[in-house]
Assembly symmetry: C2
Homo-oligomer: 334 residues x 2
């Protein structure tokens, strides 16, 4: 297969290179694209050197089979036609096309077959916070249906990119050295702080990130009646997002049953032994693939409810890994 990565120098682009290698993705030729700023940068992959090409509206995608695109929504919109017009499949990490009716929004463990219905040759990769939540919700949905979800997130700096991660590290170094920390990538200082604000605010008081969890969950799970209320919060963690989730099921359900279903669910790893102080934590799970679930218990506030805690690496399952898994799912099913 001829593979392109658009946004190769970004945090997700770099992870895509790793994931393609680690999953033994069948790559015949590889092309790396980026902005004029990163054009010319060289990366070594599987022993060969690749130079980043400037993304332009030309015929560079003529022989490409699959393009993994992670360069922001405006770039995706601007270059979608350039990328797909010769037949390449565009797997897009941005929010540009996620809610378009003619673009499937895919998490392979949940709705992999939707990937085959992509009339525009564009498949959208969902938002990171939504991906890890729906992987964990899928077995519950199958078991008892889902009425409603409350979710509070604890989102790592990685969600804002590689430079944001560096800013957090620099802030702690500055504070330790008695210097004033610099604030550029986030609205406020993130070191020693918690910021209840991810993405821009909408007229209803929710942020765009929170509304993504509402809308994307419905589309991925084919459940237009699920109601999700999210509070998305940035925390001073480098990688891996955490979520406290409450689920109201349509039918009453036994926690032991849910535990069994989650243990067997694809993409989920139960890490739930409170007596041994075992539960998922972001520091331990950086660079890991699964969605880790712990603290599973009945919802004391709802007879039809349960609650759990989940952690997953935002750059892997939340972005690069899920994109590659979509392609692998399609190859396997062909």
């Amino acid at each position: 297969m001829n593979v392109a990565i658009v946004g190769a120098s970004g945090a997700v682009g770099q992870e895509l290179l790793k994931v393609l290698d680690q999953t033994n993705f069948p790559v015949d030729n590889l092309k790396l694209f980026g902005s004029s700023r990163s054009a010319g940068t060289k990366y070594t992959w599987r022993g060969s050197e690749y130079t980043v090409i400037e993304l332009q509206d030309n015929d560079d995608f003529k022989d490409i089979d699959i393009a993994f695109v992670s360069a922001g929504a405006s770039t995706s919109k601007k270059y979608a036609d350039t990328i797909t017009r010769h037949g390449a499949l565009m797997i897009d990490n941005s929010s540009a096309f996620r809610m378009n009716e003619d673009v499937p929004l895919v998490v392979p463990e949940v709705n992999g077959d939707d990937a085959f219905n992509a009339p525009r040759r564009i498949i959208a990769n969902p938002n990171c916070t939504t991906i890890q939540m729906v992987v964990a919700l899928k077995p519950i949905m199958d078991l008892a249906g889902i009425e409603r979800v409350h979710v509070a997130t604890y989102q790592a700096a990685s969600g804002a990119g590689a430079q944001a991660m560096q800013e957090l590290i620099d802030q702690y170094a500055d504070i330790a050295a008695g210097r004033e920390p610099k604030v550029e990538k986030f609205a406020h200082q993130l070191a020693y702080n918690i910021i209840p604000h991810v993405d821009v605010f909408m007229p209803n008081g929710y942020t765009k990130e929170e509304m993504k969890m509402f809308n994307e969950t419905r589309k991925i799970m084919h459940a237009p009646d699920i109601r999700v209320s999210a509070t998305c919060v940035r925390v001073p963690v480098l990688r891996a997002h955490s979520e406290a989730v409450w689920v109201q099921t349509k039918r009453p359900v036994d926690i032991a049953q849910v535990r069994r279903a989650m243990s067997q669910a694809e993409g989920v790893v139960m890490m739930d032994d409170p007596e041994a102080n075992e539960y998922p934590m972001p520091l331990d799970l950086q660079g890991c693939n699964p969605v880790y679930v712990g603290r599973l218990r009945a919802d004391l506030a709802d007879d039809c409810g349960l609650t759990f805690w989940c952690v997953s690496d935002q750059i892997r399952k939340g972005a690069a890994l899920n994109a590659v898994q979509i392609a692998l799912y399609m190859i396997a099913k062909k």
Copy 2:
């Protein structure tokens, strides 16, 4: 008034000294008590020097009117009789007596008058996470009743004491210098991490901290039917706890009405201007007295629901300040 502080060298004890001064508390004589380890330590307060006396089972509390006690549940249990037997009123920060029927559990803005019904001369100060939540819930309760609450916390290191705060600072300094960080006060490294575990686990899968939010809310609000499901999480912040709260009211309620009621509520400060990136954050609110509320909006998942974000300094309103406010409430109403 003759005032004693038990646990004077701790994080809360030190804050009690500040709060007594800042509130112009009527102190005629002051006695500081502590463990054998801290006995002999000297502190200056309002220009005079005080030496910490070792807490022992003797008559040292004979002339004391009010004793603010913050030295852990086992010390409170062991010395409650020593402290109260000559008539001193014990305002206890620990969990030792909170759920006892003959001990009132008081947040002045919510149930101040309960303080006058203390047959054992003991008044309990609630858990920090509960205090800030019930102050914010009170105007909602008055407006529309409360059926159910979901709450995810973002708790600062301060909740585990002064040494835990220092451990967090040391961990960041060690990491910045390339040294292995030391872990003693928490179950795991807290720097760059999120730990979904505060206090010990109970058989139902909730932690003791989470069950405090369930039980104490009922007692303080005189609402034995409120159902609270909490997930309590430690975050790498020094002081001030944050909470994402979803409330289901008994009667439908308009958000504008709730906003008005919260703006006028005692102890609450609305900080809610998303367009100006204004919402409460722990870094900004260290050392402040009120409970700050922001991100108030309708619950998209519940027609009778609303959700908000609140932040308050755990050592002040969550501990020292609330204890002193109980005493001031009683003095004012006498």
